[in-house]
Structures are given as C-alpha cells and as structure tokens.
C-alpha cells in the first residue's frame, strides 16, 4: 500500500510488445507489470514468470478434504452415532468413498480458486489502479516503476525507443485496496506536481 511513481508505455501490437518486454528486462528498469486486453501466449515466459506452486496448494487442500470427510464420517458412524445400515460394518469404507471423493474435489477446487484470487489480487470489492483505460480494449500497457534516482525523461525516451505509441508518467497506488474507486482526487493533487 504505497503510492509510487510509474512510467507507462502503450503498445498497439504484440509483435512490438515482445521485443519491448525483453528490452525492458535487459535495461535494468524495474518492471511493475504488463496489462493486456486478452491472454497473450508466451508472455509469462517473456516476463520471466516461474510456475507457481498453486498445484502443491491444490494437493494439500485435496488431502485436507479427504481427511476431513473420512475422519468426520468415521467418527459419526463408529463413535458418535453408530447405526446399522443393512448389516454393513460401521466403518463402511466403500460407502464413504463417493463422499470422500466429492469433498476432496470441493476442497481442492474452492481452495485453489481462492488461492488463485489471492495470488492475482482479484476478489469482489478489490480495486486496483487502471493505468490506461484502453488496456482492456486494444492496447498493451507496460508499466515501469520509477523512484527518485531515475530520470523521468530518460524512462519516457526509453519506452518510446522500444516502440511505445503513447507514454506518460503518473503517480498511482501500486497495490490493491479494498473499497470504492476513490483515489482519483488524491492522484490529481499528486500528479499536478509531476
């Protein structure tokens, strides 16, 4: 939760975006993020993102579901309320399997969705700054994070040299926040000084 200074470069072509991302990564500028209107195949690799451990989390959630279902049903039917169903054993494992399976899937699925949302900072009510209104339309937006040691003009020139069709420098919230889109006034005051 901090307001930082960003240099924004907009590209109108994937073919320009990929070399630009590579140049940004080689240049030493701190890359904040890249916003695209649609999923671009291979961009994660170009950005150097590694595979997440989401699947490990999924495995753990699944095992938790298995243990919960088996433990709960086992406790009910052997300890808490033993009932005779058609002469079957109290711990009727085959009959428990479908419920165990469903609970495993439920825990893994819901847990993974929530983890995915957390990792991507998306949730109902979670707000993030939009750097360019056309980033959901037809522009690929590369955002560099600047600090007081970096010249704004140099960053802009650099972005233009990589093929950006539109550039700007602006102050913005770098993280997510919860609530309404009520940061505009705050930004206006800050950006008046930029």
């Amino acid at each position: 939760m901090a307001i930082k200074k960003f240099a924004v470069g907009c590209y109108d072509d994937e073919a320009v975006l990929f070399p630009a991302v590579e140049k940004v990564r080689n240049s030493g500028y701190k890359l904040h993020d890249v916003y695209t209107p649609f999923p671009v195949h291979g961009l994660d690799k170009a950005l150097g993102h590694k595979d997440t451990d989401l699947h490990v989390a999924g495995f753990i959630y699944g095992i938790t579901g298995t243990a919960t279902a088996l433990g709960f049903m086992g406790w009910i039917f052997t300890g808490d309320w033993p009932t005779n169903f058609g002469g079957k054993p109290h711990f009727a494992l085959p009959a428990f399997i479908p419920i165990t399976f469903e609970t495993t899937v439920l825990f893994a699925a819901v847990g993974m969705v929530l983890t995915f949302c957390y990792l991507n900072q998306i949730m109902p009510g979670v707000k993030k700054h939009v750097f360019h209104p056309r980033q959901t339309d037809d522009l690929f937006v590369v955002v560099l994070e600047l600090n007081e040691h970096v010249s704004e003009q140099e960053a802009i020139d650099f972005l233009k040299s990589t093929g950006a069709v539109e550039t700007k420098v602006e102050m913005a919230e770098s993280e997510w926040w919860y609530g309404r889109f009520d940061k505009e006034e705050e930004y206006e005051k800050l950006n008046a000084t930029v």
Binding site: D51, H55, F59, G86, G87, K88, P94, A95, I97, P98
Partner: protein, 403 residues
C-alpha cells in the same frame, strides 16, 4: 527431414527372442497342458483368451486415439503420429489370433460334454442361460467377434493408408485431412458400439454367464485405453532412445503421461463404481463375482491390481516433473501394462479355473510372446515410411506444442 527408421539389431533380437519364448511356452503348454486333465486344458485356452483379447484391445486403442485426435483436431499427436498408426495397422495380427482362439473356444472346446469357459454354449436346463440365449449364442458370438475384429483391423489400416496418402498429396492440400475426419467419426461410432458396449460382454463378461454388470464395457475400455497409451509411450520413447523422432520433446511425452495418469484415475472410478454398487446392494447372485475375487483365492491379485493401477499412478504420476522424466514414465508405462494385463487375468480366470489358478511359466510366457510379437510387427511397420508426417497440415502446430 525424412526420418527413415531402421530397425536396430538389438530391438530385433529382443522381439524375436520374446516371440521364441512365447512359441516355446505355447508348444510345451500344448504338450503338457492339452495332454493333461480338464483343468490343465482349460488353463491352456483361458490364458490364450485373456492375453489375445488384451492385446487386440490395447492395439485397437491406438486406432481410437487417432480418431479422437483427428476429430478434435488435436495437433500435438502429429509429432509422433506414425507410432499409433503403426500399432493400429497391426490390429489385424492380434485380431486374427484372438478370433481363432475365441471361435475355437466357443465352437470347438468340449471337455466331457461341456464347455469349461463359455457355459452358455449349452444353455439347456439352465433357466438364466436359456433366458439369455437369444443374445448369448454361438451365432451371435461369431458375428460380434468377426465384425468387431474386422472393423477394427480395417479402420487401423485405413487410417495408416490415409496418412501415407497425405504425404503424396500436393503441398498444403487439406482434402485428405478432412477425409480422415469423416472416417474418424465413423470409427468412433464403431468403437462405441463394440469396445464400449457389446464386445466385452461377449468375449469376457460371458465367462461368468450368470452374472452381469452394465459398467463392464466401460471398465474394459478404460483398461484398454490406458494400456494403449502406455504402449504408444513406450514405442515413442524407444524410438527417441535410438535417436529418432527429434521433433518429439518432453512437451509431447508429458501429454502422454497426463493421459496415463488421467485414465488410471478414470479406470479406478469405473472399477470402483461397479464394485461399490454391488457391495452396497448385497444381492447374492451379484456378489458371487466379487466374493471369489476379493476375499477368495484371488485376493492377492485383486489388491495388487488396485495398487499397480491406481495407487502407483496417482502417487508417481501426479507431479509435473515426474511426467517429464523419461525414466518414471517408462517405468509407470510398463507397470500399467502389466497391471491391466493382471486386471484381465482377474476378469477371466476365476470363472473357469476356480480356486486353482496359476500365474507362472505358461501365463508369463504367453504374455512375453505377445509382447514380442507386438514389438516385431510394429517396428517393422515403422520402417516402411518416414517417421515425420511432413505434409500434415498440423505438423507445425505439433512442433510448437507446449503442454
């Protein structure tokens, strides 16, 4: 990039040695078992039935994966398309053997006036079998066997012929590609009406003629398909091991590993669904099937099948690195093929053999013989054409495939 496969001497000797083992075992078995009591004679035939049906089904699974990939326009399979094609083109070899064995058992096997494997050939006096005799009779059996094997063999060879014709077609022509899509749709219909429904009833389920299960054919299909994918994977990796199929990378074998993993789970799903309903219903004429298999003399094999076909794949193949490791997938492919052969063992043996079952020189020798035959015919077919389907419209997509 005209990759022409030349059969390495080592593979050739291995396959011929395995075939010789099978032949030797068959001759010794023919002398000792066929000359023995009715139990030994039954053993001779039931093992041949089990293994030949298993092999014809796993080779037919290669025809099915081609049809499915063609209809779904899956590009990734094109990188090693020649392998399922070569396996599919040899369905007729195993089909021929299976047809001879099955028809002999149904028509010719007669020990002291009764048929020890297919009881239903003499339904007289048995109310249940008489009730089923409109479907379960020799004529229907022969019809289903010949039509099934004939169609599988025909489509296997047709797909290969179409694919080779594509190589001679003009560059960028998609005419044969679309012809293949039409034939694939036809094959899926054939496969659904044979492997996925009627044929396993005739060949395998009718061994326990009083018992029936509506899950049975799906369950057999899952067995056949997962072993079929394992066979494809083994051939692909052995070709890579000898320096061929450069275009096939870990991305492609990873997908084959996913298929093995997913269909192992699917097999367990169907296997368990069939078991649980009968366990819960607890109707005596249904539970007898599992009584002998699970709690009786076959208990050891029953639980080994479950461990090899479910516990091992789910634990070993779940993680991404192990699906991309050639050693683990090769090991698991072998384990899966053997595990599903054991699964067919437990489908077939208890009916005719009862408590006195064997899993020794004859059973394993016949299995080795069939495996050698599969290697021999498939490698030979692979030498006949370039390993890279250069003119296939989806080749580029296959090369760029990422899983």
């Amino acid at each position: 990039m005209n990759e022409r496969f030349e059969l390495p001497a080592r593979l050739k000797t291995t396959s011929i040695a395995l075939m010789l083992v099978g032949l030797l075992v068959l001759i010794i078995g023919g002398i000792t078992l066929l000359g023995g009591d009715h139990h030994a004679q039954t053993r001779f035939w039931i093992v041949l039935l089990q293994t030949s049906v298993f092999f014809v089904m796993i080779t037919a699974a290669s025809v099915f994966i081609q049809a499915a990939a063609s209809l779904a326009q899956g590009g990734w399979i094109v990188a090693y398309k020649r392998v399922p094609e070569a396996i599919g083109a040899n369905v007729w070899v195993f089909g021929l053997i299976a047809a001879v064995v099955l028809l002999f058992i149904a028509f010719g096997l007669d020990i002291d006036g009764h048929n020890p494997i297919y009881h239903w050939v003499h339904p007289e006096g048995d109310e249940i079998l008489e009730g089923k005799s409109a479907f379960l009779n020799k004529g229907m059996f022969a019809g289903f066997t010949l039509v099934t094997i004939g169609l599988w063999a025909f489509f296997g060879r047709k797909f290969r012929a179409l694919s080779l014709a594509q190589e001679k077609a003009p560059k960028n022509s998609t005419k044969i590609y679309w012809t293949m899509v039409k034939w694939s749709a036809g094959f899926l219909l054939v496969y659904a009406l044979t492997q996925m429904s009627t044929t396993p009833w005739m060949w395998l389920m009718s061994i326990d003629a009083h018992w029936y299960s509506t899950m049975y054919s799906w369950y057999t299909f899952a067995s056949a398909f997962v072993s079929g994918m394992a066979v494809i994977l083994l051939f692909v990796l052995s070709l890579k091991n000898h320096g061929y199929l450069e275009l096939v990378t870990k991305e492609h074998t990873h997908d084959l590993g996913k298929f093995m993993f997913a269909f192992s789970v699917f097999w367990t799903y169907v296997w368990f669904a069939q078991y649980m309903l009968i366990w819960y219903g607890n109707i005596p004429e249904e539970t007898t099937y599992f009584k002998i298999r699970q709690q009786g003399p076959y208990g050891l094999i029953w639980y080994s099948v479950f461990i090899i076909n479910f516990i091992m794949p789910i634990l070993v193949l779940m993680s991404r690195p192990s699906k991309r490791n050639y050693f683990t997938v090769t090991f698991m492919a072998m384990a899966i093929i053997f595990g599903h052969w054991l699964d067919f063992f437990i489908m077939t043996m208890p009916g005719p053999m009862g408590a006195n079952w064997y899993l020794s020189w004859y059973e394993l020798g016949v299995f080795a013989g069939f495996a050698g035959l599969l290697m021999f015919v498939v490698y030979n077919t692979l030498t006949k054409a370039s390993l890279v389907p250069e003119n296939h419209p989806l080749l580029k997509e296959a090369v760029l495939h990422e899983s």
